[in-house]
């Protein structure tokens, strides 16, 4: 207890030294929290854009569909399947879809498109499709109209109210063709999806592809996205033969890879940051030890145990680090909080980000785990650095030390 008091008083004996050392820790904590939060925020956003707003975290298909994604690998969504899915406690709703490729044709231009037949009501409840409209109206279940992504329309050089022709191959080789008025224009976060997606009411899509009652997938809206893999596995066991249940990580390994690669790059950056911070702290600790050599000598000379002195110095560094980490977290919080609720659109970096499929938006994550993790890491680094003065103290010869 005395050591604690001593360490605390030592801190404020030389305020400037304490402030300089703790500001090094402060910047380290602040920067690593900000960096992690931005990275995590962008990743969450990307997952949300692709998985949350489109594919869903878990999907049910006919067995073998994912390896060979053709309209021939469709299934009829029997009530039994829907029931098994809907009865799972994590599943909020199951959303039927018929997805396939088609050529989208305007007057003179044609572009490859991804056609998605959806149940208008369920799809809106799940992916908030209606909220993504930037122009026009939503469609009805029995409508013969389409909602087209903005990027695709720009390439086709047509807009709201114009007619789009879809041409592709339907069920068992029939020609799938249809002509639809564009009732709505939507903007999608993922640049790739924004350049390809065409939404059609499920019935109209089934008609066009000559696949009445057939679905390519049943996307599941689940309330435990972190447990996607477990949910997929239980459902697979509960369902009869002939179906495959997949979570988003197995459906989109590329997305997982992009995220991993990005994280890997950041690990290096973070490593450098930690290194710089570590040496910064070490520098101040080194100076402090040299500065107080005489003081240490006197203390040991008058009979203080070396181990106790070392403990005091160790405690001092822990206090300084704690101070810095706390201040860093407190300062980082409003910044992170602000950018979480008002993300910044990075116009200048648009192309670079879109190449990787990221939306060029700077958005932070306010996951408490980031704060805790980064604070602990910085704290550990600075405590490691304080081992040096402890070792010096253990080796100190009071006569030599006082002989200045």
């Amino acid at each position: 207890m005395m050591i604690l008091k001593l360490a605390w008083r030592n801190l404020w004996r030389n305020k400037r030294r304490t402030l300089i050392t703790s500001s090094a820790v402060f910047f380290a904590a602040f920067l690593s929290i900000a960096m992690n939060s931005i990275q995590d925020g962008m990743h969450q956003q990307m997952i949300q854009n692709v998985v949350g707003y489109y594919s869903g975290y878990v999907q049910i298909h006919q067995d073998g569909y994912w390896d060979e994604q053709t309209i021939d690998n469709t299934f009829t969504a029997e009530e039994q399947v829907q029931k098994v899915a809907n009865d799972h406690p994590s599943v909020e709703r199951s959303v039927p879809r018929l997805e396939s490729f088609a050529l989208a044709i305007a007057e003179d231009v044609s572009r490859p498109a991804m056609v998605v037949g959806v149940d208008p009501r369920l799809e809106d409840e799940f992916t908030k499709l209606q909220a993504k409209l930037v122009q026009g109206n939503y469609f009805a279940a029995n409508g013969q109209e389409v909602i087209v992504a903005q990027g695709l329309l720009e390439k086709l050089k047509i807009g709201l109210g114009d007619t789009i022709i879809l041409l592709g191959q339907g069920y068992h080789g029939v020609t799938a063709a249809g002509k639809y008025p564009i009732t709505g224009v939507m903007k999608l976060g993922s640049p790739e999806l924004n350049a390809r997606l065409v939404y059609l009411p499920l019935q109209a899509a089934q008609e066009m592809y000559g696949a009445p009652e057939l679905l390519t997938s049943l996307a599941l809206d689940i309330n435990t996205p972190d447990k996607s893999a477990q949910v997929a596995q239980t459902l697979q066991e509960d369902l009869p033969e002939g179906y495959e249940v997949m979570d988003w990580k197995s459906m989109m390994p590329e997305l997982v890879q992009v995220l991993e690669a990005d994280k890997g790059g950041n690990v290096i950056l973070l490593g450098i940051l930690y290194l710089v911070v570590g040496f910064g702290i070490f520098g101040t600790v080194l100076m402090m030890t040299a500065e107080r050599k005489y003081e240490f000598g006197v203390l040991i000379g008058i009979g203080m145990k070396k181990i106790k002195l070392a403990a005091t110095v160790l405690l001092e560094t822990i206090f300084i680090s704690l101070l810095g980490v706390l201040a860093g977290s407190i300062f980082a919080f409003p910044l992170v909080y602000f950018f979480h609720y008002s993300p910044v659109y990075l116009e200048g970096l648009k192309e670079a980000y879109e190449q990787y499929g990221f939306e060029p938006v700077l958005m932070t994550s306010i996951d408490l785990g980031i704060f805790v993790n980064q604070a602990i890491i910085v704290l550990v680094i600075s405590c490691l650095m304080s081992i040096y003065p402890a070792i010096r103290i253990m080796k100190i010869d009071p006569v030599k030390a006082m002989h200045v």
Partner: protein, 240 residues
């Protein structure tokens, strides 16, 4: 020396055999036919009936007559262009470069196969390999290797040409690594106006198990008088 002379002589022969075979295939002047196309897939098969007209190597018109859902779908070939008419949307579409490699009417033929811009005669080197027998007919087996600057997907083609009527009995197409990718197998030799033709053709993509496309002529006429204006985009919509 003697070997060299022999070698060049047989090369000459191979080229002229191919040339003759191509003339026979085309029907020299023009043709009119009715045929069925059966698409075979592991889990389903589908048959379509169609009528076709052709003039020389540059013009062809094919229109679907059954099933009802596809009736009136038509494809027009004018030299290296392909046009498609889709009655469901009432539109005629000129196929773009990227669409040329897609399959035609869901079959194992691609749009490129219809156009066949590359000449078997001038764009390939020919060599007779050996004689073999197919469907009871003696055939030359001829190896065709495309010239380097020619845009073809094949590394080499083996063509079996009937020695009597110059019919193309079998064509094996290999990719650039030498793997067999595609087989065209003809059978049922018939004749009309004293001219022989193969009434049945199977197109087999070797790597896709259980897939093939069967083309069968139900009637065929050669040397039908057809005007070039018959092969127009306007006529594509009208033809039944």
């Amino acid at each position: 020396m003697l070997l060299m002379i022999l070698g060049s002589a047989s090369a000459q022969d191979a080229a002229s055999i191919i040339q003759k075979a191509e003339e026979v295939r085309r029907g020299i002047e023009s043709s009119q036919s009715e045929m069925t196309m059966t698409i075979v897939r592991p889990k389903w098969t589908r048959t379509m009936s169609m009528k076709s007209w052709s003039k020389g190597d540059d013009f062809a018109l094919i229109v679907v007559t059954a099933p009802a859902a596809e009736e009136g779908s038509a494809t027009l070939k004018r030299s290296d262009e392909v046009w498609s008419y889709i009655p469901k949307v009432g539109r005629t579409i000129k196929l773009s470069r990227s669409m040329m490699s897609q399959n035609w009417m869901g079959s194992d033929l691609t749009n490129d196969d219809l156009v066949r811009e590359v000449s078997l005669i001038t764009d390939y080197d020919h060599k007779i390999l050996k004689d073999s027998t197919i469907e009871g007919r003696k055939c030359w087996k001829i190896e065709l290797i495309p010239h380097e600057d020619v845009a073809v997907v094949w590394g080499k083609v083996h063509m079996f040409v009937d020695q009597k009527d110059y019919l193309q009995m079998r064509t094996e197409s290999f990719d650039e690594d030498g793997y067999l990718v595609n087989v065209m197998q003809a059978s049922q030799i018939k004749s009309v106006n004293g001219r022989a033709y193969t009434a049945k053709m199977e197109i087999i993509p070797v790597e896709e198990d259980g897939n093939k496309t069967i083309l069968e002529y139900t009637s065929l006429k050669f040397d039908v008088p057809l005007d070039e204006t018959f092969f127009s985009v306007q006529n594509l919509k009208r033809i039944r």
